[in-house]
C-alpha cells in the first residue's frame, strides 16, 4: 500500500510481511525505529506466529537468530554501527553455518569519537564476513530489498545484510509502497531449511574442522556466495513481475552511456548525485553515476559491463580503510583491470557530514578538468569538504 511513511516503518511493515518467526531486538540508533515497529506489529497479533525476543546485547541478538535459524525458523534482526561490530564474531558464525538470517544495518559511523550519524564504516568493516551485502538507494528500495533478501538467503543458505543509510533513510518520511501480503506470499515461499535441529533425525551442526578441510569449506562458501551474482538478477526480474516495480539488482547505471566521467557510489547519496548529474548535464557536462547495490559478492562483471574504456571513474566512498584508502576502490581496481578507466577515490560524508550538490559539482568539475593521463589527474585519495581550518587548529 502506498503511503507517506518513515523509512524504518516501511522496513518494519515489509519485514513483517515476510513472516519472520523469530525477531530479536536490541536498541541502537538509528536502527531502533525498525524493531520498535516490529514489536508493535507482533504485540498486535498482526504477525503470528512470531517470537519477539528482547535481548541483552547485539551479540545475543544475532546469537538468538542463529539458534532460531538452526532450529528451522525464519529469523530477522537489525543493528547499526557498534552493534554490528559487537556481533562480529557471530556474523562469521552465521555465514559459516550457512544460516539464512536477514538483518537490516542502518549504516552509521564507528567510534571513537562516538558519532551516531551516517556513513558506511560499519558494514564495510564486516564486508569479508561471508554475508551478502545489499545497499539501498532510497526507502522504496530498502523496503523491497528485504523481500528479495529473504528469498535470496534461503535459496543459497547464506545470510544477507540489507544496508540502508542511518537517519538519511531510516528517519526520512516519504511515499513508500509497502508490498501487499498476498504478493509477498506469492514471491516468498515458506522457509525450508537445508538442515535443521530435529530430535527425530539428530545431526551435529558446527563441528570442529581442521586444516584438512577448512580451505575447502571456505572455497565452497565463496562459490556459494558468488552464485548470488546470477541469482540476484533473476530474483530482481521476478520481483518486477510480481510487484510491478523494479527493485535494484547488482548495479544501477545512471546516464553513463556517453559519460566521460562516472561516479561510483553506494546508498542514498546516489539520489543527490543523480540530481547533480542532471544539473551538470544541462550545462553540457557528460557525467554519469554507477550505483552498486550488491557489494558482496562484488559484481565484477556487471561493473565492467557498465563502464567502457576512456571513462574516468571516481569512487565516492562513505568509509575508508585507515592507512590504505578507499574500500570500494580496492574492488573497483580489480574489476577495472585491463580497462582504460583511470580511478580516483573520494572519501565523503563521514560521520554524517552532508554530501551536497555544490560539493559534488565541485568534485566532478575538478575530476573532469584533469587531463586523460591518470598521473596528472586528480589526487588518488581526496577527502571531500575537508576543513583545513579545523585541521590547523587541531
Amino acid at each position: 500500500m502506498r503511503a507517506q511513511r518513515e523509512g524504518s516503518q516501511a522496513v518494519a511493515l515489509t519485514v513483517a510481511r515476510c513472516r519472520p518467526e523469530v525477531v530479536c531486538a536490541y536498541p541502537i540508533s538509528p536502527q531502533t525505529h525498525i524493531v520498535e515497529g516490529l514489536s508493535a506489529i507482533v504485540a498486535s497479533g498482526e504477525l503470528a506466529p512470531c517470537e519477539f525476543v528482547n535481548v541483552e546485547s547485539e551479540f545475543a541478538a544475532l546469537s538468538v537468530a542463529i539458534g532460531a535459524s538452526a532450529a528451522g525458523a525464519r529469523a530477522y534482526t537489525a543493528t547499526a554501527s557498534q552493534g554490528l561490530l559487537f556481533m562480529a564474531e557471530a556474523l562469521w558464525n552465521a555465514s559459516g553455518l550457512g544460516l539464512p538470517i536477514v538483518m537490516t544495518v542502518a549504516n552509521r559511523a564507528i567510534g571513537a569519537p562516538i558519532n551516531i550519524w551516517n556513513d558506511h564504516s560499519d558494514a564495510m568493516a564486516l564486508r569479508d564476513c561471508g554475508w551478502i551485502q545489499l545497499y539501498a538507494q532510497d526507502n522504496q528500495e530498502a523496503a523491497d530489498l528485504h523481500i528479495l533478501a529473504f528469498r535470496l538467503a534461503e535459496q543459497l543458505s547464506v545470510p544477507v545484510m540489507v544496508c540502508m543509510d542511518g537517519f538519511v533513510l531510516t528517519h526520512a518520511v516519504e511515499e513508500i509502497d509497502v508490498a501487499d501480503q498476498e504478493l509477498v506470499d506469492r514471491y516468498l515461499p515458506p522457509y525450508r531449511p537445508r538442515q535443521v535441529l530435529d530430535p527425530k533425525a539428530p545431526i551435529t551442526i558446527g563441528a570442529m574442522v581442521g586444516p584438512e578441510a577448512f580451505t575447502e569449506v571456505r572455497y565452497l562458501a565463496h562459490q556459494t556466495q558468488r552464485q548470488a551474482l546470477t541469482v540476484i538478477p533473476r530474483l530482481a526480474d521476478e520481483f518486477a513481475t510480481v510487484f510491478g516495480r523494479r527493485s535494484a539488482s547488482l548495479v544501477s547505471p545512471y546516464r553513463t552511456e556517453d559519460a566521460d566521467l562516472v561516479v561510483v557510489a553506494l546508498g542514498s547519496v546516489l539520489g543527490t548525485l543523480a540530481e547533480t548529474i542532471d544539473e551538470l548535464r544541462d550545462d553540457g557536462v557528460r557525467v554519469g553515476a554507477l550505483g552498486i547495490t550488491t557489494f558482496r559478492p562484488f559484481p565484477t562483471e556487471a561493473v565492467r559491463a557498465a563502464l567502457r574504456d576512456g571513462q574516468r571513474v571516481v569512487a565516492l566512498e562513505r568509509a575508508f580503510s585507515i592507512g590504505s584508502g578507499g574500500v570500494v576502490s580496492q574492488d573497483l581496481r580489480v574489476a577495472l583491470a585491463g580497462m582504460d578507466c583511470p580511478l580516483s577515490t573520494v572519501v565523503a560524508g563521514l560521520g554524517g557530514r552532508p554530501i551536497t550538490r555544490p560539493s559534488l559539482r565541485q568534485l566532478i568539475t575538478q575530476a573532469r578538468s584533469a587531463p586523460g593521463d591518470p598521473t596528472a589527474g586528480p589526487q588518488p585519495l581526496v577527502f571531500l569538504d575537508l576543513d583545513r581550518d579545523l585541521l590547523a587548529h587541531g
Partner: protein, 333 residues
C-alpha cells in the same frame, strides 16, 4: 517386628547396585536402551569428568523428554573432543556456535520451537565454566532474566582446560593455573576473586537452580529429571574434576569430586525461585586438606613448606559453606 536396615555400600562409595533395585528406580545409565547421547569413541582425556557428566546429563534429559531434545554447546573441551570433523560423538540434535553465546543460541532455538508450536521439544544449553561464568555470562543472565525455556548446564572444571589450564572466574583461591603461577608472593589464584554462579542464578529467581557432582550420579540424574519437569530458565552447575588441569590421577576423578563435597568446598543443593529447597548433607566430613593434597594444583600448599595459613583460609571457606547451607546432619554438627 524388628527391621534390619540393609546397607548397600559398595567399596565405601554409597553407590547402590542397580540390580538390587526395582527397575523403575534404576539409573538411566543402567538401562541398555539409554540414548548414549555422547557415544564412545570421543577424544576426551582419560578420567575426564566433563565427558562423564555430560553423558549422564543428556541421557537423563533424553529419558525425561522422551527423546525430544535439542542441545546447544559452547566452545570448549566438550565441543572439541566430541566433534572432530568428519566425526561426531553426538547422538542427539546438537549445535555449536561460539564460546560466549551458547545461552543466547539456546534461547533462539527455544524461541523457534515456540513459534512453531513445538514446545514438546526441549532445549539444553551446555558449556564449561569459562563459557558460563565468564565469556558467556552476559548471555546467560539474559536467558535467566527472560525466563527462556532452557536448561543450562555448566560443567565446572574450574578453569580454561581446553586452552591449557588458565584461570577462569570459577577457579578457586590458591589454585595454580598457567595464568596464576605459584611464586613466593603469588601462591596461585588470589583469594576473594571469582564468582559462584548458582547464587547469581538464584538472584534471577528462576524456577530451578541446582548443583551436583559426578561423584553422585544418581543425584545428577534426578536433578536433570526434576529440571525437565519444569518450564522456564533452569540452571544446573555440575562439578567435573579435570585430571589434566587439577593434576590428579585419571582414576581419582570421582573420588576428588566426592572429597570436594565432603569437605564442604562444593555445596550440593537445589533452589527454586531463589530459595534453597534442599541440600545434600555431608555424610563423612573431611578436612579440606584431604581434598587439596591429592591435587598438583595445590601442591605448593604442602611443599616445599607447608602453608598452614592458606590451608586455614580454604578451610574457613568450607566451614562457611557448611554453616550457610546446613550441610552437616545435626548429630554430626
Amino acid at each position: 517386628m524388628a527391621v534390619q536396615r540393609v546397607k548397600f555400600y559398595q567399596t565405601g562409595s554409597f553407590a547402590v547396585g542397580n540390580r538390587l533395585l526395582d527397575p523403575a528406580m534404576r539409573s538411566v545409565q543402567s538401562d541398555a536402551t539409554r540414548t548414549n547421547a555422547i557415544t564412545s569413541g570421543h577424544r576426551a582425556c582419560r578420567g575426564c569428568g566433563e565427558a562423564l557428566g555430560a553423558r549422564y546429563v543428556l541421557d537423563a534429559a533424553m529419558r525425561a523428554t522422551g527423546g525430544k531434545l535439542v542441545t546447544v554447546n559452547a566452545t570448549g573441551c566438550l565441543e572439541v573432543f566430541s566433534t572432530p570433523y568428519p566425526e561426531s560423538a553426538w547422538q542427539v540434535a546438537w549445535l555449536h556456535s561460539l564460546f560466549g553465546n551458547a545461552p543466547a543460541v539456546a534461547a533462539g532455538v527455544a524461541a523457534a520451537l515456540r513459534a512453531k508450536g513445538r514446545t514438546d521439544i526441549r532445549v539444553i544449553g551446555q558449556a564449561g565454566d569459562g563459557g558460563t561464568v565468564d565469556i558467556g555470562f552476559g548471555c546467560l543472565s539474559g536467558l535467566f532474566e527472560r525466563d527462556d525455556d532452557v536448561l543450562f548446564v555448566c560443567y565446572d572444571n574450574q578453569g580454561y582446560m581446553n586452552t591449557g589450564v588458565q584461570r577462569s572466574g570459577a577457579t578457586p583461591p590458591a589454585a595454580r593455573t598457567t595464568t596464576t603461577p605459584v611464586e613466593e608472593q603469588a601462591p596461585g589464584n588470589r583469594f576473594g576473586q571469582g564468582k559462584f554462579v548458582p547464587f547469581i542464578a538464584m538472584a534471577h529467581e528462576i524456577p530451578y537452580v541446582a548443583t551436583a557432582t559426578i561423584a553422585d550420579l544418581r543425584d545428577l540424574e534426578a536433578k536433570v529429571e526434576r529440571a525437565m519437569q519444569l518450564r522456564g530458565a533452569r540452571y544446573l552447575h555440575v562439578l567435573v574434576p579435570c585430571p589434566l588441569g587439577w593434576g590428579t590421577d585419571a582414576s581419582e576423578t570421582i573420588r576428588i569430586a566426592r572429597l570436594a563435597t565432603e569437605c564442604g568446598l562444593f555445596p550440593v543443593f537445589e533452589a527454586e525461585r531463589g530459595e534453597v529447597t534442599d541440600v545434600n548433607p555431608i555424610r563423612h566430613r573431611v578436612p579440606v586438606e584431604e581434598y587439596l593434597r591429592r591435587q598438583v594444583r595445590y601442591r605448593h600448599l604442602f611443599e616445599p613448606t607447608r602453608r598452614d595459613d592458606l590451608i586455614a583460609r580454604i578451610q574457613a571457606r568450607a566451614d562457611a559453606n557448611i554453616l550457610r547451607f546446613g550441610l552437616l546432619d545435626e548429630k554430626e554438627s
